[in-house]
Structure formats: structure tokens, C-alpha cells
Amino acid sequence: MKQQSNEIDVFGGFGLGFRSAHYSDFLDAPEEERVPVDFLEVISENYMIDGGRQLRILEQARALYPVILHGVSMSIGSADGLNREYLTRLRALADRIEPLWVSDHLCWTRTSAHNSHDLLPMPLSEQALQVVCDNIDAAQEALGRAMLFENPSSYLTFPGDEMSEWEFLSEMARRTGCYLLLDVNNIYVSAQNHGFSAHDYLKGLPLDRVRQIHLAGHDPATPERDIIIDTHDREVCDDVWALYADAIAMLPGPVATMIERDDNIPPLSELLSELDRARGIARESLLEPA
């Protein structure tokens, strides 16, 4: 096992994504009415810029809350390796913001020529695993810290797959010392799309490496389309809440839990209500931090 760059301490709070529709709610409330979240998660790329208002807003948020940097464009599965300019900018942002941690996805987004701006699936092969691990080693070294990687939703599997996604993630974490961000909705979506058991998935993971959970909504299958699509644009459904309860009960200790809404952003009160439901489930498992 490669020596990991850093340990990531357990942080058992409840948070939300920091979206522009809610900037004022988070930043302008008087101290006694501050939004009751334990952390905010931001999309790293939105702040990997030279300067301006957007960065100032992030610094204001950071002064009030712990912040997680969650990326969508590292492309950790790219056969072409990592983009040096990207890593340099992400390192600079992390040094500036001092996040709880930095995360991205187990996926690839680009080739040497083009960028899909979507989280594309990895072939689940030993070859792909080696590429991913080499890239994670390089990323963690460039950032000077261990990272979290999230399981993506996927809509196809490759004919030559040699292992399950949970086996891939487990081996990836073992070889690189990285941690896991478990998106419970993504497990549900992929399980439905590919016909595996979400519980087998959970049972097969090294749960002591999980530091964070994402909860989100998806677009159900229709008579015309038997694929569930991960949209992150609606409330968490009951099946995903049930899977979250199972996951929380299986985890060896507290983890950070977040409601992740990327589109059709509702009033903050609706997201806080969902976050309260997550708190209640965690409390029932006696895992909520004091």
C-alpha cells in the first residue's frame, strides 16, 4: 500500500451544497439566525479562478462554516493522465480555503482532445484500476493531502468488466489510501440500472474509509425509458432514504452527510427539512455527534 499523503479525520456533521440561490441566506443572516448546517460543500471548479466576486463570496462562506471542495473535472480515470494546470489551481484553492477535504468522482471526463463535462463510467478492469490508482497517487501528491472519491451513477457497463464497482472502489482505496464519498442515490440508481443489489454494494465496501455521504434525487424510469437518470434536481425518494438508513447503521462511526441539489434549486427551507430527516435517521442509529 502506498504511503498516504494525509489522514482525514472523521467529521460527523450535516451540510448542504453552497449554491448561488442561497448565498444571501447563508451570508447575510445575523449570527443568532445563522443557517443551521455544520459545513458547506462547493463545486471546486466554480472557484478555481483568478479573482473576483465569486472568490470573495467563498471566503465569506469559509469564515462562517467549514467548507468541502467537491470537484467534477479532475478526470481521475483518464488514460491521458491528469491536467497539471487543473491540479495547480485546485492546490491553490485548497491552500486558500483550507477545506475539510477535497473530493471528486470515480469517473473520467476527458480525452486528450475533448471534454464531455459529464461523469463518464470506468471500465471495471484491472487495467483501468491501475490507471485510476496511478492518477490518484499523482493527485494526492500534487495536492499534499488525501482525497475522497465518489461512486458515480452509471447508465452502462462495459462488456469486458472484470469486477464489481464496489470491488473496484475497495481495491482503489486500499492501494492509494484515498477515502470514499458514498452517494447513496448513485448506488440506488446504478443498482436499478444494472441489476445488482445495493446492499451487496454497501457490504462490499471498506466502510471505515467512508468520510461523507451524499443524498440526492433522481428521475425515475418511464415506460419509454427503463434507465433511471441521476438528476440531483428533486427531493430524495423514500427508497434512497431507506438505503441511507441501512448505510448509516452499517458504518463504524459518524460521517458527514449532505443533501446535494444541483438543479431546480428550491427554497433553502426545503433542503433544511430534508437535512433534518437525515439527522433524525442518524440519531436513530445513535451515530449523530454530540
Partner: protein
């Protein structure tokens, strides 16, 4: 690249071709299940890049209407598939796409250029412009050669160009609260200067000569070069004196607007 990475690179290249191009063959060995999944990835890709363009060019979209903007966006992403890690970068060159597609309405490309320049300015590096008084004090003892060799560094991502339409009027008419996008009114050459004032991107309509002067100095021309540019060919003494006065006025304007970051002689 190792053999391992090379095999994966081929798989990923084929996957990417299938996303970017409906007509590209699916990778060998794929069946209906993979084809259905690929349709989802294609849809995700298209909506992501189209949404990014719509977000970056809100005014251009309002000006040409949803259908025309959607067609222009599709044309742009097909001819300029994204290559950068930040999705906003897909908007680079959209003004040229608009120039190609809206040839009968050249103000569309000018408006798209202005929106892009404002967006670029918004995330420029933070900076403190050179105070006019500081420059005045430093230049009080300039010799003639110092003035001739004077070069300016402008604030990051400030830019200028010549346009042919009333962009200020069109821009105002496309404010979110306005219901009536303006038809292009008075035509005629004018300059547009774009920069960030504090945290706010801003633009100013200026004389064409001023815009040309700004662009020349941004590209490395000296103050002496600028006076020569403004004086024209074979100038007499009076023309040179007038050009020097004009250049002085421009320099004062740039300093007062907070566009100058530094100077060297």
C-alpha cells in the same frame, strides 16, 4: 503512455467520439443496453454545454430568441467541442460563431463578444489600479525619452474593440426587467472598453481612436508609438502636438477609470 493506459485511451477515445457525434459507431462488442446508456450520456453532454452557453450569453439569447440561440449553440458545440476542464470555456469563440450564423445581423456577434468580455473580466485576478496621483508624481520628472518609452500594463482581462452598432443601447434594452430588446439603431464606428471596476465588470463606449490606442498599448506599443499612431502619416509639427495632447487625454482617462496597473519607461 503504458500499454495499460493505451488500451484504456482507445476505449475512452471511442466513447468520446460516440458522445460528440450521433453518427459515430459504438465501440466493438456493444449491444442495445450500452446503446441506451450512451443515449443518456449524449443527452447529458448536450444539455450541459447548451446550459453553459445559455448562462454565459443570456443577453445574446434574449436578443435572438430561444430557437435561434439554441440552433447557434448546437452549431457552436458541434464545430467547437469543448476541450477545457472548465465548462464555461465552451463560450470561447461563440462571437465568431454568431458572426458566421447571423451575417445579416452583425450586432449579434458584437453583443456576444461584449458578454464574453464581461464574463472574462468578472473572474480576472484581483488588482489595485495605479492611482492617477501616483502616476502624476512619478512622471513629474520624466525626460522626453521617458515619455517616448513609457509602456503601460493594464488591469487583467481589460480589453477593447471597434464595433459598428449601439451596443450600450442594445445592452440596456436586454436588462432582465426590460420587455423589448432594442433593434439596432444608429450605426457607425465606435469603441468599446471592457474592464472590471472593483468586483463589477463594466464597459464604456469610447471613440474609435481611443479603442485603437488602448489595443495598441495593450499589445506593447509605447507612448511614443501611440503619438505616432495618432499623428498619422507624414505629420507636421502641429499634427504631432495635437496627437500628443490627444494621447495625454487618453492616458488621463485610463488612469482615472482605474485601467492602469503599472508603467515602465
Amino acid at each position: 503512455m503504458s500499454d495499460t493506459a493505451s488500451d484504456l485511451a482507445e476505449t475512452q477515445a471511442a466513447f468520446m467520439r460516440a458522445i460528440l457525434d450521433d453518427g459515430a459507431p459504438l465501440p466493438a462488442g456493444w449491444g442495445n443496453r450500452q446503446a441506451a446508456g450512451m443515449a443518456v450520456y449524449r443527452g447529458n453532454y448536450r444539455s450541459a454545454v447548451m446550459d453553459a452557453l445559455a448562462s454565459s450569453f443570456e443577453r445574446t439569447a434574449r436578443y435572438v430568441g430561444d430557437d435561434a440561440f439554441r440552433q447557434a449553440s448546437m452549431h457552436h458545440v458541434i464545430s467547437h467541442p469543448p476541450s477545457h476542464w472548465t465548462i464555461e470555456a465552451v463560450g470561447a469563440g461563440f462571437d465568431a460563431t454568431c458572426a458566421e450564423l447571423f451575417g445579416d445581423n452583425p450586432e449579434v456577434a458584437e453583443l456576444a463578444w461584449l458578454e464574453w468580455a464581461m464574463l472574462e473580466a468578472s473572474s480576472a485576478a484581483d488588482h489595485e489600479p495605479l492611482p492617477a496621483a501616483e502616476f502624476a508624481a512619478a512622471s513629474a520628472d520624466f525626460a522626453d525619452d521617458d515619455w517616448a518609452n513609457l509602456k503601460l500594463t493594464f488591469t487583467p482581462r481589460s480589453t477593447a474593440r471597434i464595433v459598428e452598432h449601439d451596443l450600450a443601447g442594445i445592452w440596456r434594452s436586454l436588462d432582465a426587467e426590460s420587455d423589448n430588446p432594442a433593434a439596432p439603431s444608429e450605426q457607425g464606428q465606435r469603441g468599446v472598453l471592457v474592464w472590471r471596476e472593483g468586483e463589477t465588470p463594466t464597459f464604456l463606449i469610447i471613440a474609435p481612436d481611443n479603442a485603437r490606442a488602448f489595443m495598441a498599448m495593450q499589445n506593447g506599443a509605447s507612448y511614443g508609438d501611440l503619438i505616432g499612431l495618432l499623428a498619422g502619416d507624414n505629420p507636421d509639427g502641429e499634427a504631432i502636438q495635437n496627437a500628443a495632447m490627444k494621447a495625454g487625454g487618453m492616458l488621463g482617462e485610463w488612469l482615472n477609470e482605474g485601467l492602469v496597473l503599472a508603467f515602465e519607461t
